[in-house]
């Protein structure tokens, strides 16, 4: 187990390096000079050169990468061009908000997804099974930014039950766990939960159907175990895969929340990315993407290790 964890860690290192290279190169993909956004149009060549030197853009690319990586490894993601504040602070504040939203969405998606999946897996080809299939197709086919808009139209614009945008009544960027703030969380969380719900329902249905068709279930029933006991066995066998998928979905939601966060003006990483893109704040863009991608790499690692720990039958290379 320890050996596997170490192996997996060794394997993740080059991926993490690759991710850092991609994030670094993103800034250089951008058309024009990265500084053009902050320099006045009539800046003299001397000013431009001075700024280029100040930001380190005058050095060769590999050197720039190593300097950048050195700073990143010391927790310095640079300074936001638009606000002049350290990128790390901006990103961590946003990550906390996104994490709250993504976690709640994952929990909602997982709860209903497993529920539908179990019912469908137990009663195959029944009405519930068809409903679960429809739900999973709906979950992966619906443009979630549109679903968000529809929910706002129904629950805010028409019924007036829930607030349409923001994270709290004071308009602040900090979410607190009280009733007033909870009301702001419901619509974006439900919107985001639809994708993992569909995927988890589909997976759990297939898992449960497969487990129920195995010989050991028949053996358990033959020796007189009641359905509750059999159910416990089914859950234990389905849990590792279902939990692994839940973990990965959390990562996808965290990285893919930008569209939903934009619809609901939720002050998370998606919202930050949106601002970074349109203000051409490249250090902020680079920093947010690096943090999100690294989080995803870490989550993948955790999921793999946890899955192996939960299910000792999984022998991995």
């Amino acid at each position: 187990m320890l050996l596997y964890t170490l192996k997996r860690l060794v394997y993740a290192t080059p991926v993490a390096f690759g991710v850092s290279i991609v994030c670094f190169l993103l800034v250089h993909l951008a058309p024009g000079d990265p500084l053009s956004a902050i320099l006045p149009a009539d800046a003299t060549q001397a000013t431009i050169d001075e700024m280029r030197a100040a930001y380190g853009f005058d050095k060769p690319l590999p050197v720039q990468y190593l300097i950048w990586l050195w700073h990143v490894l010391h927790g310095d993601l640079g300074i936001s061009i638009a606000t002049g504040r350290p990128v790390l602070g901006e990103v961590s504040r946003a990550v906390v908000n996104s994490l709250i939203l993504a976690s709640v969405a994952t929990v909602i998606g997982f709860t209903f997804g497993t529920l539908f999946g179990f019912v469908a897996g137990y009663h195959r080809n029944s009405l519930a099974d068809r409903a679960a299939s429809a739900l999973s197709v709906f979950g992966v086919s619906v443009p979630h930014y549109w679903l968000g808009m529809v929910l706002v139209i129904v629950f805010s614009a028409t019924l007036g039950w829930l607030p349409p945008t923001g994270a709290g009544p004071d308009g602040s960027g900090n979410w607190r766990p009280d009733f007033d703030h909870l009301r702001y969380l419901i619509l974006p969380a439900v919107t985001m939960s639809v994708i993992p719900m569909g995927i988890i329902a589909r997976t759990v249905r297939a898992l449960v159907a497969d487990i129920l068709s195995q010989d050991f279930v028949e053996a358990l029933r033959a020796k007189g175990m009641d359905e509750r006991g059999v159910f416990r066995h089914v859950v234990r066998n389905a849990a590792p895969t279902a939990l692994a998928i839940m973990g990965l979905q959390l990562g996808y939601l965290l990285g893919g929340s930008i569209l939903v966060e934009t619809v609901f003006a939720w002050p998370g990483t998606g919202f930050l990315l949106n601002a970074a893109i349109f203000q051409r704040d490249l250090p902020l863009l680079q920093g947010s993407i690096l943090v999100l991608a690294m989080f995803f790499v870490l989550l993948n690692l955790l999921v793999d290790v946890m899955q192996t720990a939960l299910d000792p039958r999984i022998e991995r290379a």
Binding site: S141, P143, M149, G255, L273, L285, L292, F296
Partner: protein
């Protein structure tokens, strides 16, 4: 280079002829072939057929849009803004600038389909190439190519698409480039695993023994046997691609106004959700319907192709 192939195919033909000679009294029934069987099964799948019909209708609308729109999709009217669905002149209402919704939705299908389907098509070609090369050659080539691909898998697709388009800047071309970059690794990974699965098969050895070059084997034997599964996988990506492409336009990173595109229309109509919510939601209905049609068709195709088992 062509001689060994001809020899090999002749030998194959010879074998078939010999088998027929052995049983001359059996009437010759032309085999449907693999794709024939797939088509036959697909036609009997009502859900897949309905989805296919839906896609066909949207494609036809997109092709003929400039000639069949009831009104000018670009001509606005300050007096007739945000008309409701069912209006005598504007059947599906009018948008925030008083332009006819149904005409804009019809014309919008062109760009939405184009920016959604093109990345998958390009990624299908590039990704299959990379995956087949990595899978067939193996060894270090495989390691280098597939580890590079792994790096792109470390990004959730939405994040990668937005990061690339955000860095490249807004525009149709850039959004197609970034979405292609999102799908190439996914298709390459599938292509690699399918190719690795068949590279030890007897017919590959036979082709090698007949003297065919690696390039020829990849083109004839490998491609012929892996293209089906890769294609099915690629069709399942079209739905995601449509949602993402329109999503980029929704964020302001794709198509620019005044061109009609469903994602962009959804964005500009966001301000109207209190005045005319039904009209504001219409472009999303179009994205949803097309996306679900592609998903169901792809599911049907996959089911129809599971003949071999």
């Amino acid at each position: 280079m062509t001689a060994p192939i001809t020899a090999a195919s002749l030998a194959l033909d010879g074998g078939v002829l010999a088998a027929e000679d052995a049983a001359p009294e059996v009437a010759f029934v032309p085999s449907r072939g693999f794709w024939g069987h797939v088509g036959h099964r697909l036609v009997r799948d009502p859900v897949a057929m309905a989805a296919g019909a839906m896609i066909l209708i949207v494609v036809l609308i997109a092709l003929f849009a400039p000639w069949i729109t009831p009104m000018d999709p670009y001509k606005g009217s300050m007096l007739r803004r945000l008309r409701h669905v069912g209006d005598a002149t504007y059947w599906l209402g009018s948008d925030e600038l008083g332009r006819d919704m149904i005409s804009r939705l019809m014309l919008g299908s062109r760009l939405s389909l184009f920016i959604g389907v093109t990345p998958v098509l390009i990624a299908f070609v590039i990704g299959s190439g990379i995956g087949i090369l990595a899978g067939y050659v193996g060894g270090w080539t495989n390691t280098i190519l597939m580890r590079t691909i792994d790096v792109f898998f470390a990004f959730p697709s939405v994040l990668l698409a937005i990061a690339l388009s955000g860095a490249l800047g807004a525009g149709i071309f850039n959004s197609i480039v970034s979405l292609t970059c999102v799908f190439v690794p996914q298709i390459a990974r599938v292509a690699e695993s399918v190719t690795t699965g068949i590279r030890r098969r007897d017919y590959i050895d036979a082709a090698k023994l007949s003297g065919a070059s690696a390039l020829t084997i990849m083109r004839v034997q490998v491609l012929g046997n892996v293209v089906g599964p890769i294609f099915v996988y690629a069709t399942s990506l079209i739905s995601v691609s449509m949602i993402l492409a329109s999503g980029l336009s929704f964020l302001g990173l794709g198509v620019r106004p005044p061109e009609p595109e469903w994602g962009l229309m959804l964005n500009t109509l966001r301000t109207a959700i209190y005045v005319n919510p039904v009209v504001a939601a219409l472009p999303g209905v179009c994205i949803f319907v097309v996306s679900i049609a592609f998903n169901l068709f792809s599911d049907g195709l996959r089911a129809a192709m599971e003949i071999r088992q």
